[in-house]
């Protein structure tokens, strides 16, 4: 078991729905896999595809984006924009040698603590099944200009 693969997953959760669902799962003391580390954004629409690629480049085995259900976006339609970006992003990931299944978009509302727990567990298990991400470093080593600005 000490050899077991422990996936590292970055979660981008919107402030109003999925982040609150995670808060609710917490206050309800639901237990779930500890693999997803959450980065909060105000809206899932803020999740720049570059952030996703950046996560994979920095060693993430999976990326989970959580937003409000269609029609329930706090900012009217940010989640639709996110949804539309996924198609191209998935195609691009495949071209970079990253299984598109390593990226998942979920709509989880603030009241769906149980669903959040299930998604956390399911996705962690799915990534565990896929195994560690092995990318050809040459493919995605070119850093984005913004990231380079970081020291």
């Amino acid at each position: 078991m000490s050899e077991a693969f422990n996936p590292r997953i970055v979660g981008f959760f919107c402030n109003w729905c999925t982040y609150l669902a995670a808060d609710l799962a917490g206050t309800s003391r639901m237990k779930y896999a500890p693999n997803v580390r959450v980065v909060r954004t105000m809206c899932s629409g803020r999740v720049d595809p570059q952030l996703v690629v950046w996560a994979f480049r920095n060693g993430a085995d999976g990326v989970l984006i959580g937003g409000c259900h269609p029609g329930d976006c706090h900012y009217q339609e940010g989640n639709y924009k996110t949804l539309r970006r996924m198609g191209l992003l998935r195609t691009m990931l495949a071209q970079l040698g990253i299984e598109p299944d390593r990226l998942r978009l979920e709509w989880i509302s603030a009241s769906e603590g149980e669903r959040l727990r299930d998604v956390m567990n399911e996705f962690s298990a799915q990534i565990r099944q896929l195994g560690p991400l092995e990318t050809k470093s040459s493919v995605i080593s070119s850093q984005s200009s913004v990231a380079q600005a970081a020291p």
């Binding site: 590292r8 970055v10 109003w16 729905c17 982040y19 609150l20 995670a22 808060d23 799962a25 917490g26 206050t27 003391r29 639901m30 237990k31 779930y32 500890p34 580390r37 959450v38 980065v39 909060r40 954004t41 105000m42 809206c43 629409g45 803020r46 999740v47 720049d48 595809p49 570059q50 952030l51 950046w54 996560a55 920095n58 060693g59 993430a60 029609g71 329930d72 706090h74 900012y75 009217q76 339609e77 940010g78 924009k81 970006r85 509302s109 603030a110 009241s111 769906e112 727990r117 984005s144 200009s145 913004v146 990231a147 600005a149 970081a150 020291p151």
Partner: protein, 636 residues
């Protein structure tokens, strides 16, 4: 926690790292202030609970220490880590990653100023039930202008339909109608009945609301409320089921919901009125109205625009539809009633003037009151509707008083937590009401013995007796639970409210912010937040009014500066961001060939930032470099 503080202490840039049990407490905050001053700290990271709970608290702490409050970042290691992780080792590792991410991110934080906006002192109250009425009156008494919007032709809500109220048995109308009249007479309340909120824009302090005013076909300014048009209507008898009497009586095409309706202005129902159907009605109503000329068949839906600083949503509930549980025979057996129907039946001003006469004309000699219809039921609603036990006991009392019938109450658990509630239950037991612990399985009309002939037979497991019983009764009362309004999802979207899994509007915090919502400036009152009785509803309405007052009287609101901005030096003028913005906050500056963002309109979703191909669009508190650093940090 000690290990976490130790590892955090070794992160780049960290000068001091401490473990403290209650960082949000006074001594905890004090410790932060002292450290900031002592070490000249210019970034603060707190790893504790959700930022939704205490981010503001710590921003203030940082400001108290003399630093810019936005040089602070919060890590959620309670809700997101310790409370949800079984393995302590894995939990600590996760917390370490999140703290590292925050420290890396903090390096890129910038000084910001909160945005300040003036607050419009007017308030919109949506819903004219007892919750909305009490809220509106409280605000109006504090000299605020209130718009009270109600979609029915009259205010009063469900309370107006009730007969008596538990446990005091004071008459609902006697305590409600004076408040309704006070609403009508109050110079600060702008009552808008037969109206519905159609569109909401803006934000805390300055909402713009479009209200649809449905045609009443009677001019509210001209009508005196004499009711002669109703008398004169060519329909001698009503033919349309009365909404107010839940179908137990009939009303005419021109009608007043009930005699004490506020405003006392009738409505014409175009579905029932002959004039609308054939245009051949002699229009005796118009004749009766005479010189007042209030009747206007040409009215159409109008739109009224309001500007308010705060909104109180008090849209109430709908009773559970008993037809969804066919085993109880509602709609099939005429002598099966819902509790709301019985409220009208026992009411002295109801369709039978308070006489309890069943649909078949008989007076009941035995009555079964079935609790928890559509509550505490895996097949319908899992929650307890909170009021049914008490109103069932109240109805049992009233039915016994009026008919002398023998009354059985079938309950799962008798829930009487409230002032004087348990005493009321005791009193009912002494009055000789039979309380049987067990949920009725079905209501049938198949007699198995002569005693069951012509009766409604209740089959129930008496769980105290440990036996299945068959109890024949004349009348069945289904104590239906409370459900969210059918269109509560739509209302939620209008005001950006979340819903709990049962569909009730979600409060900001169940204990510490029970009437606040996740939309600043929008408050909740009454049953739209969850089932509650009249005292709790009134209390909540008062709190919603107080919260609105606190907002208004402060005069201005501070909004987190999460807005986007565009670096015009970098912008290539591709205009992709313009199409992204749902608030039309970005315009194209054709002179400079770049995008220009109007900060006042931006709500800070960051969608434009994610779409900008050149990195010219950025979002305060969520800059690219901050998020990139955070992602790197969580992946240690």
């Amino acid at each position: 926690m000690i290990r976490l503080a130790e590892t955090a202490g070794k992160l780049p840039g960290v000068v001091v790292s401490r473990e403290y049990k209650y960082a949000c407490s006074d001594p905890g905050q004090d410790m932060i202030v002292q450290d900031v001053r002592k070490y000249g700290l210019n970034r603060v990271v707190v790893a504790s609970c959700s930022p939704h709970l205490h981010e503001l608290t710590f921003r203030k702490t940082v400001a108290t220490a003399g630093q810019n409050p936005y040089l602070f970042h919060m890590v959620n290691i309670r809700e997101h880590v310790s409370w949800v992780t079984e393995d302590p080792e894995a939990a600590t590792a996760k917390a370490e990653a999140l703290v590292k991410a925050a420290v890396l991110r903090a390096a890129f934080l910038r000084e910001l100023e909160p945005r300040r906006f003036p607050v419009n002192p007017n308030v919109l109250v949506v819903g004219g039930g007892i919750a909305g009425i009490h809220t509106a009156l409280t605000l109006a008494n504090a000299n605020k202008q209130v718009y009270l919007v109600e979609r029915e032709p009259t205010i009063g809500g469900h309370m107006a339909q009730f007969d008596k109220t538990f446990p005091t048995l004071d008459c609902a109308a006697c305590i409600l109608t004076p408040k309704m009249t006070a609403v009508k007479q109050h110079p600060n309340i702008h009552l808008m009945t037969y109206c519905e909120v159609g569109e909401v824009s803006g934000f805390v302090g300055s909402f713009k609301v479009k209200v649809k005013k449905y045609p009443r076909y009677i001019d509210e300014d001209k009508c005196t409320g004499c009711g002669e048009c109703i008398e004169a209507c060519i329909f001698k008898e009503g033919k349309t089921p009365s909404e107010f009497d839940v179908g137990l009586s009939k009303r005419k095409p021109v009608y007043l919901s009930f005699p004490q309706a506020v405003p006392p202005i009738p409505v014409i129902d175009p579905e029932a009125c002959i004039e609308f159907k054939s245009h051949k009605c002699p229009k005796s109503c118009v004749e009766a109205c005479g010189d007042r000329a209030a009747i206007d068949f040409t009215q159409t839906t109008r739109e009224v625009e309001l500007e308010v600083g705060a909104v109180v949503v008090a849209t109430g509930f709908k009773p559970f539809d008993a037809r969804r549980l066919p085993q109880y025979g509602y709609g099939k057996h005429p002598n099966v009633y819902t509790s709301l129907e019985v409220e009208r039946l026992v009411n002295a001003s109801g369709p039978t003037l308070g006489q309890v006469v069943m649909r078949d004309g008989r007076k009941p000699e035995s009555i079964g009151v079935l609790h928890c219809i559509g509550s505490r039921d895996e097949n319908t609603n899992r929650y307890c509707s909170r009021v049914c036990c008490m109103y069932s006991l109240k109805l049992a009392h009233l039915l016994k008083e009026k008919t002398g019938a023998h009354i059985y109450n079938f309950y799962i658990d008798m829930r009487t937590p409230g002032k004087g509630f348990e005493e009321f239950y005791k009193r009912l037991l002494e009055e000789g009401i039979s309380c049987i612990r067990g949920k009725v399985a079905e209501v049938s009309t198949w007699p198995q013995s002569p005693a069951e002939e012509g009766k409604l037979v209740l089959r129930v497991e008496d769980t105290l007796l440990g036996a299945v019983r068959r109890i024949p009764v004349d009348m069945v009362v289904l104590s239906v639970g409370l459900e969210p309004q059918a269109d509560s999802g739509q209302t939620g979207r209008l005001f950006n409210l979340g819903c709990s899994s049962d569909g009730w509007f979600l409060e900001r915090h169940p204990k510490l912010a029970p009437v606040d919502t996740f939309t600043d400036g929008v408050f909740l009152a009454g049953c739209c937040q969850g089932p509650k009785d009249i005292p709790d509803t009134v209390a909540q309405g008062g709190v919603a009014a107080a919260q609105s007052l606190a907002l208004i009287d402060k005069g201005c609101v501070e909004i987190e500066p999460v807005t986007a901005f565009i670096d015009q030096e970098i912008c290539s003028g591709c205009q992709i961001c313009i199409a992204m913005c749902p608030y039309t906050a970005i315009q194209f500056d054709s002179e400079k060939s770049v995008a220009a963002l109007n900060e006042a309109l931006c709500k800070g979703c960051g969608t434009c930032v994610a779409a900008c191909p050149s990195g010219a669009a950025q979002q305060n508190l969520f800059l690219d470099e901050q998020l990139f650093a955070e992602v790197q940090g969580v992946l240690v």
